[in-house]
Symmetry: C2
C-alpha cells in the first residue's frame, strides 16, 4: 500500500496529532541508541495515548500485513526499537499516567510511557521503593524497561526488572487486548506469561501498562565506599573477597583507567597519580550493621591493595563518590560514537575477561573503556571510533565480535541487560542451542503467526533444517 493511503486510513483511526509522517519524525523514530545496528525509515509513527489506540493500530497493521515496531523512549542499546522494512513505529512515550499506587499491597500500576525515575519519585512519596535502576532511569520508560528486562546498578542485591513485574496489559499481534499476571504477592495460575513477555522486546505483544511490586523505603541507609587500584587484577581480587565474605553490596561498580582518564580530562576529578581502576560500592543496611559492613568493605579494599579509600554516608557525598560512574558514558561520547558491549561472565572470570578486552583493544587498535557491574559480572566495554573513520569503525566491530567470543569462552552470556535486539543476534546464535532457537520460533509463531510484531529481533532465525521440526 502506498504510504499516503496508509496515512489517510490511520488518520481515521487516530485523533489529530497522534500520527506523524513528516521526514524529520520518520528520521527521529527510525532507531534507538544503537546507531551501529541497521535501520530504515518507518512508514509512519503513531504516538499512542491509550491501550485502545495501540490495539486499533495493531489490528489495522495485522489486517494489512504491515509490521509494528513498539518503542518507549528509544534509549535501547541493541537496536530492539530500530525501524524495519514496511513498518509502523508505535511509540508509548505519551502514555505517562501512573494509574494506581497501592500502599497496603505494595504495588503500582503504570502506563508503559512512565519514566523510570518518575515512577520512583511518585512511589517514594508513599514511603515505597521501585528498585530497578538502569543507568537510563532519568529518560527510559517502564514499558521499555519491561520489554527489555532492564537491569541497573542495584541489581547485584535487588534483582532486575522481571523480579518486580507482577502483571501487565498487552496488545497481541492481532490487536486483541489481554491482561496477564496478578496483583497478589504470590500466584501460580497457569504459565508465567508475564515473565515470558518481560524481555521479549516487543516480539510477542506490546506492553501498554505494568503492575510492579514495590518495597518499603524504610530501613535502608545508603553508604558509599570507594577505592583506587593499581591493576585490574587487584580490583578483581577485591571483588572476589567481598563475595567470599558473604557480603551482598547494593552496588559494586568498576571503572577502568581509560574511562577514568576520560572523565578526569573533562570533569577535572583531581585523580590520584598511579591509579588505574576505581571500585565503587554501596551498602544499604541501617545502623551498626551498616557501619560494620562499610568498614569491612573498606578493609577488604585496603587489603587487596586499594588506596585513597573514601567512605560517605551523606547523600551529597555519596553522589560525589559516584560522580565518575555517572559521567563515564557522556565523557566517553565526547571522544566519538560509542559501541556499547554488555557481556556478563561468571564473577570469578571478571579479571580475565577485562584482561582479554584490553588485549582486543591493543590487537585491533581501538579505544575500549570499561564500566562494569563487577558485583554481578556484567561488563560494559565501550568501544570508541572517531567520527568519519570507517576503518576504525570496522576494527571496532571486529573487536566487538571478539569480546562476544571471549565471553562465551569464559562461560558467559552475550547480553547481561541490554537485550539481543539486532546487535546481539550473532552472539545469541552462538549461545543458544539450535533446538532452543527453534523453541523461540515456535513460541513466536504460536503468538504472532503472521510475524507482525518487531520481526527479526530478540532471537536469531533457526537454521533451515531446524525449522522443519
Amino acid at each position: 500500500m502506498p504510504a499516503t493511503d496508509l496515512v489517510r486510513e490511520l488518520s481515521r483511526l487516530l485523533p489529530a496529532g497522534h500520527l506523524l509522517h513528516d521526514e524529520e519524525s520518520l528520521g527521529k523514530y527510525s532507531h534507538d541508541d544503537a546507531e551501529w545496528a541497521p535501520f530504515t525509515a518507518p512508514l509512519a509513527v503513531v504516538l499512542a495515548r491509550s491501550t485502545a489506540e495501540v490495539a486499533a493500530v495493531v489490528s489495522y497493521a495485522a489486517d494489512h500485513g504491515i509490521h509494528v515496531v513498539p518503542r518507549g523512549a528509544g534509549t535501547g542499546l541493541s537496536g530492539g526499537a530500530n525501524s524495519v522494512e514496511n513498518c509502523l513505529i508505535v511509540s508509548l512515550e505519551l502514555m505517562t499516567s501512573i494509574l494506581e499506587i497501592d500502599t497496603v499491597e505494595g504495588l503500582a500500576v503504570a502506563q508503559a510511557g512512565v519514566i523510570n525515575d518518575d515512577l520512583r519519585r511518585a512511589v517514594a512519596e508513599h514511603g515505597l521503593w521501585y528498585p530497578p535502576d538502569p543507568a537510563s532511569s532519568k529518560i527510559s520508560t517502564i514499558g521499555g524497561n519491561a520489554a527489555t528486562n532492564a537491569g541497573g546498578i542495584c541489581c547485584v542485591k535487588y534483582g532486575v526488572t522481571r523480579d518486580y513485574v507482577r502483571g501487565m496489559t498487552v496488545v497481541l499481534a492481532d490487536g486483541e487486548i489481554v491482561h496477564l499476571g496478578r496483583r497478589t504477592a504470590k500466584g501460580v495460575t497457569g504459565y508465567d506469561l508475564t515473565s515470558l513477555l518481560v524481555g521479549s522486546e516487543g516480539t510477542l505483544g506490546i506492553i501498554t501498562d505494568v503492575t510492579v511490586k514495590l518495597l518499603p523505603l524504610a530501613g535502608r541507609e545508603e553508604q558509599a565506599i570507594i577505592g583506587y587500584f593499581p591493576t585490574l587484577r587487584l580490583a578483581g581480587d577485591a571483588v572476589a573477597a567481598v563475595t567470599a565474605e558473604g557480603i551482598v553490596p547494593a552496588a559494586l561498580e568498576l571503572i577502568d583507567s581509560t574511562c577514568l582518564r576520560a572523565v578526569d580530562d573533562w570533569m577535572g576529578l583531581g585523580l590520584p597519580e598511579d591509579v588505574n581502576v576505581l571500585l565503587m560500592a554501596k551498602i544499604d543496611e541501617p545502623g551498626t550493621t551498616g557501619a560494620d559492613l562499610a568498614s569491612r568493605l573498606a578493609s577488604i579494599f585496603h587489603d587487596a591493595g586499594g588506596t585513597n579509600i573514601e567512605q560517605a554516608t551523606d547523600p551529597t557525598e555519596i553522589e560525589r563518590l559516584f560522580l565518575a560512574r555517572r559521567m563515564a558514558y557522556p565523557s566517553l561520547e565526547r571522544l566519538g560514537p560509542v559501541l556499547t558491549e554488555d557481556v556478563c561472565v561468571p564473577r570469578h572470570a571478571v579479571p580475565e575477561m577485562l584482561a582479554r578486552i584490553q588485549a582486543s583493544a591493543t590487537e585491533h587498535d581501538v579505544v575500549i573503556a570499561n564500566i562494569a557491574h563487577a558485583g554481578d559480572g556484567n561488563l560494559h566495554p565501550l568501544i570508541i571510533a572517531p567520527v568519519g573513520d570507517d576503518a576504525a569503525k570496522a576494527r571496532a566491530k571486529t573487536a566487538f565480535d571478539r569480546i562476544v567470543d571471549d565471553c562465551r569462552d569464559l562461560g558467559g552470556t552475550v547480553t547481561g541487560e541490554h537485550g539481543v535486539g539486532l546487535l546481539k543476534l550473532p552472539g545469541a546464535a552462538a549461545e543458544l542451542e539450535p533446538r532452543v532457537i527453534t523453541m523461540h520460533q515456535q513460541i513466536k509463531n504460536a503468538l504472532d503467526p503472521h510475524g507482525i510484531l518487531n520481526p527479526g529481533k530478540a532471537f536469531p532465525a533457526p537454521e533451515p533444517a531446524e525449522e522443519l521440526r
Copy 2:
C-alpha cells in the same frame, strides 16, 4: 498397545529395576497428595536415573502416542502428578546428585530428585543458603519445586522458587534434551524459557536438573516473635500495621482457632484461654537492627490487641514458638482426609477472606481450619471430612468451590503456590481471560504438538470458539 508389550519394549531401554509394573507400584504412583483429584492407574512406572533415560523413555512414548506424567516426590497438593489415561509415570526421585556447588558465583546445580532440605544442608556447608522453603522441604524434590514454582514461609521476604532458578536441563516432548537459562547473575539472551518452564507442571518439558542461585548464609540472625489474638480481625490489623511500618518480616504466619485446638488436643501446647488466633513472625536482620525490629513487631502485636507475646533468639526456642505451625497439618490429618486450599488475596483482604471462609464452613457444615502465610495473603483453608462420610465430602467440595469464588471476588488468585494441577482447573478457567487460556494452549501446542506431556494439567482447555483462532 497391550501393557505387556510396552513393558517388554521399555525393559530393553532401561536397566533392571528402573521399570515398575507390579500392582502395588502402579497404585502407589497413581496420584500425588491431592487424593481428591481424579486419577487412574498408569501403564508402568519408570524410576529414571539420568537425563538420558528420561529422554529415551519420552522418545519411546512420543513414538507410540503414550502420555508421560513426570513426578518428583509426589507431595503435590493439586493433582499435577496424578496419573492419566494411557500414561507412563516418570519418577525423578532417584536422580539425587548435587552436581556442583560454585561458591564464587553463588550457585548450585542439582538433579531433579534432590530433596529440598538436602540441597539446603549441602550448600550450608559452604556458607550458602537456598531460601525457598515449602512446608514439604523435608520430603519434596527440587525438580518438583521448580515444576510447580513452590513457595513457602520465607517467600514474604525472599521470593519463590522461580526467583532462584537460573537454568535447567529439560527433556522436551519428543525426547530431545535442551539446556535453558544461564549460569551468570544476569542474562537476557532470548525469551525467558526458564521462567516459562518453572511452574508449567511438566506440561512443556521434564526438568531433569536445575541451576539455582544461592545467597550467603552470613549476615542473617533469626528471631521469632509470636502473639495470640482474640479475633481474626485484630490479627489482621496487626498484619496490616506491620506492612504500614515498612517492615518486611522473613515469615508472618497465622493459625486460626480450629487449627490451634487441633494441635493443642494432640500436642498439649498448654494454650492460653480465650485465644483464637496465633500470629508468628520471624525477622532475620542482625545485631541492633534485628533487636529493634523484633521489639517493634512485639509492640505492633501488643497495640493490635495481642496477648501472651513471646520472643526468641535461640534456635531451639524459635522452633518451639513455631511448633504449632509445623504440627498444624499432621494434627488436622488425624481428624480426617484434608482438602487443602491455596487461595492468595491482596494483603488488605486477608481478614475479610478469613471471615468468608468461616461463613462457608458454617453454611456448608464442614470443618475448616486455617493456616495462612498472612504476610503475603496466601491462605491455606484446610477442609476436613471424616473418612467414609460421602455427604461431608460433597459438602467439603462445595465449600472449596465457594472459597475459590470468594477469593476471585476479593481480587485474589486461585492458587498462590500449590499450582493448578487438576483441582484448580475450574478456578483457573474463571481467573484467566479466554484469550489468555488460548495463549496457553498455543504455547502447549507449539512445544508439545501431540500432547504427550502431562495432558490436561496446569491450565484449563480453551472454549471451542477460542480454539479456532
